[in-house]
């Protein structure tokens, strides 16, 4: 046990901690910062988000006809506010616009009118116009809820079609937008990349350090010495676990500050645009995502330790880690984290690919481990 603590202390050397700090600082600003600072990004995303925050506590996931009329009344109240603005705007009067309805009918290719419209929207920042646009997109989505599902059913086949059919039969319509869920998907993908890179940097040196110090032949001649391989391995996995948990907690705490908690209790099916193979609440989805990230973090740790054992020097080590990290970023994070249960990926993709990854890693670790236990030293 004492050896284990020594090894753990060696892995968390102050130099590596410092390096990890720098790398995390940079990657945070490169990948995550803008998702926190500019959330929700742009218009009408910002307005959609504000409306959803208002509606979800009132009406919950599914909107029935009565609630829908309520929502429409809320919308019409806002329209009246806009009407007043147009009624009192001399420029609008000149162009023959007396209320919001007139403004809506502006053809965007009519010189002066189009200028007026884009001026209002982009330069004078009339919030109400964007807000109304957001309301309208929600209301239109609700009005066409059945047609859009029928359209999906017509375009798909097999199991995918069944998912849409089930939604239609159970009358599970999505009322809200995907502003929050999409943002979380991008956030968790970048979070995964940061955690994985950190773990790879932490563990890559574990065995190479000994190889480079020409320590291995000395160690392996004694029974105790060879057993250190296992101790180091467990210490490495422990270190990776500690680091992954710490980083994930830290970045998820930052995500918490976005204030999307209103959306946590809603099922995924109530958010528009993307449909998922399995329905669960947003919070469950978050937990599942973090679980997947952590699982792959452990697999990558095992792989890194195996690479560290086999590499004769740090150059080979980095040379092998480059393609491994490339696969993690371009493949795993994209398909297995971001699009985890997305209906437009094959249903079996995530479980099968994860399984293959698991088996390949376990096999590699096992082979390397066995080799080390029996290796001849000359």
């Amino acid at each position: 046990m004492r050896l284990f603590w020594f090894e753990l202390k060696k892995i968390f050397s102050w130099k590596l901690i410092l390096l990890l700090g720098i790398v995390n600082f940079l990657l945070f600003y490169l990948l995550l910062d803008s998702r926190l600072e500019y959330f929700p990004n742009g218009r009408p995303a910002k307005d959609l988000y504000a409306i959803e925050k208002q509606l979800i506590p009132l009406y919950g996931a599914q909107i029935n006809e009565e609630e829908y009329q309520d929502i429409k009344r809320l919308y019409e109240e806002r329209v009246r506010v806009a009407d007043k603005i147009f009624a009192s705007d001399p420029e609008a009067k000149e162009l023959g616009i007396s209320n919001y309805q007139d403004f809506r009918q502006i053809e965007l290719n009519q010189g002066e009118l189009a200028d007026y419209s884009s001026n209002l929207k982009f330069y004078e920042v009339k919030d109400i116009l964007w807000e109304l646009q957001a309301w309208e997109s929600l209301i239109e989505g609700y009005e066409s809820r059945e047609e859009s599902l029928e359209g999906d059913i017509a375009q798909t086949t097999g199991a995918r079609q069944e998912v849409f059919q089930r939604l239609l039969e159970n009358e599970t319509y999505s009322f809200y937008s995907d502003v929050v869920t999409m943002d979380f998907k991008n956030y968790k993908t970048n979070l995964a990349i940061i955690v994985w890179i950190s773990v790879a940097i932490l563990l890559s040196l574990v065995y190479v350090r000994d190889t480079r110090a020409k320590l291995v032949p000395l160690q392996y001649t004694s029974k105790e010495g060879r057993a250190t391989y296992k101790v180091k391995w467990w210490a490495g996995m422990t270190a990776a676990t500690v680091l992954s948990v710490a980083l994930t907690l830290f970045y998820m705490a930052l995500y918490w500050t976005n204030g999307t908690q209103t959306h946590f209790g809603l099922p995924l099916s109530s958010f528009g645009w993307f449909t998922h193979w399995y329905d669960m609440t947003f919070l469950q989805y978050i937990v599942l995502s973090i679980g997947m990230i952590f699982f792959f973090s452990l697999l990558l740790s095992g792989l890194s330790l195996a690479i560290s054992t086999m590499a004769p020097n740090t150059i080979v080590l980095i040379g092998v880690q480059i393609p491994v990290i490339f696969i993690m970023i371009a493949g795993v994070s994209r398909y297995l984290i971001h699009d985890m249960i997305n209906v437009f990926r094959p249903q079996v993709l995530t479980p099968v690919a994860t399984g293959v990854f698991l088996i390949a890693t376990v096999l590699t670790v096992w082979l390397v481990w066995r080799r080390e236990m029996k290796r001849n030293i000359i």
Binding site: K15, L19, I22, V23, L26, L27, Y29, L30, I201, S204, L205, V208, R212, K214, N313, T314, I315, V316, L317, I318, G319, V320, I322, P323
Partner: protein, 410 residues
């Protein structure tokens, strides 16, 4: 010379470097091939240039129009090519013989070029420069000297735009903007090659520079008279290898690229061609650059960037005597360069200086020599960035070499 070669061999014969280079070539090949489904259609522009010449004139356009109508007539269309194509439905298309179908495809592509050529003048001259000026980055203070500088740059660029119109420079055939040839060539392919080169070059440089430390021979070697000056050979070996890696990747990728896409007629066209219009704006370059000039210049700039990265890596390894840390710090440095202009958001001039940096140059080969409203689109941006970073790299590498010569062996 012999010593340099021996130093080079250390990296060249390391199998992992070869494997990395080969996988990068494989990746780029895949990238090119997977995008090439429309290559016959894209290559048709060469035929167009062959027959009607490189410049778009009223005569050649009417000639083209006439020829297309004739062709349509021979296919059975009586009211001209455009009419024939609009009346073509999916069913009638499928009833045609395979040869005829090819002719119709050809006709529709050429007719697209014909309509692009006809509407070119109206479209190109309608770029609203006053509207663009609103997006101009001037920082916070409207009357500072920096904001005046940006205004002046913009006016210069506007003048250049008017010159392009006056000299009809934009009226030259190029691949239609919808094919995104310029973006694929530079933004995808050349940028990928440069990034891949940087990854490999930093690795090789770290290997060569830290070799004696990694092999634990430094205490034997550096006390000798010749020992420390070996660094010079290591240095030149790194630079040669950096260039070699970069050009191997460029040759492999663009060799294939120019086999897939036929540039024979297009080489002498210009980047500022009105057809080279992919997104919001056409590429309005600061100078009249032909396609081959731009290609050579872009490759040249990326090459120098890669060499500077190699010099910086070499310098880092003087201090960090560990190739693992050296490589990671080098990558962190490049990412840091990408991020640090944002620190100076409140100080526009400092932000501008920070923008003249290596990583931005590395990542944006498709925007080289183009004018526009952002900080990276001022005239001579490329030149200044390269100069500043070459000077920084040379100064830090020389001083750290001086320091290294006098240092204790440890």
């Amino acid at each position: 010379m012999r010593m340099t070669w021996y130093e080079m061999k250390k990296a060249l014969l390391s199998p992992i470097v070869l494997v990395l280079i080969l996988s990068c070539i494989g990746l780029n090949t895949f990238q090119i091939i997977s995008q090439s489904h429309a290559k016959d259609e894209i290559n048709l522009v060469n035929e167009l240039i062959d027959i009607y010449g490189l410049t778009i004139t009223a005569d050649s356009l009417s000639q083209l129009n006439q020829d297309l109508d004739d062709e349509a007539a021979s296919l059975g269309g009586t009211d001209g090519a455009r009419d024939y194509l609009t009346n073509m439905t999916y069913e009638t298309y499928n009833e045609l013989s395979a040869d005829d179908r090819q002719l119709v495809d050809r006709l529709s592509t050429l007719s697209m070029y014909e309509s692009l050529g006809t509407s070119l003048e109206e479209r190109y001259t309608s770029v609203n420069m006053d509207e663009l000026r609103k997006d101009l980055y001037t920082g916070l203070d409207k009357n500072s000297s920096f904001s005046n500088y940006m205004e002046q740059e913009f006016s210069e660029w506007e003048k250049r735009y008017e010159e392009i119109i006056a000299t009809n420079e934009y009226k030259q055939w190029f691949f239609a903007g919808d094919y995104r040839i310029h973006s694929e060539m530079y933004r995808t392919l050349l940028k990928n090659i440069a990034v891949q080169s940087v990854l490999i070059v930093a690795l090789m440089t770290a290997l060569i520079a830290n070799y004696e430390v990694d092999q634990r021979t430094q205490q034997v070697l550096y006390p000798t008279k010749k020992g420390r000056s070996l660094m010079k050979h290591k240095f030149s070996a790194s630079l040669v290898l950096a260039s070699l890696t970069f050009f191997i990747l460029v040759t492999a990728a663009f060799g294939l690229y120019f086999i897939v896409y036929d540039f024979s007629g297009v080489w002498n066209s210009v980047v500022s061609s009105g057809l080279n219009w992919e997104y919001k704006l056409p590429y309005i370059t600061w100078w009249e650059l032909t396609i081959w000039q731009y290609f050579l210049l872009a490759v040249g700039i990326e090459w120098i960037v890669v060499v500077i990265v190699s010099i910086l890596t070499f310098t880092i390894s003087f201090y960090v005597k560990n190739s693992y840390f050296t490589w990671i710090i080098c990558m962190a440095l490049l990412i840091g360069l990408f991020l640090y202009p944002a620190l100076f958001n409140a100080f526009p001039f400092l932000k501008f200086l920070a923008t003249l940096n290596l990583t931005l140059l590395l990542l944006n080969p498709h925007m080289y020599f183009s004018g526009g409203t952002t900080l990276t689109m001022v005239q001579y941006f490329e030149l200044w960035s390269l100069l500043i970073w070459a000077v920084i790299a040379i100064i830090v590498s020389l001083t750290s070499y001086q320091r290294f010569l006098k240092k204790d062996v440890s």
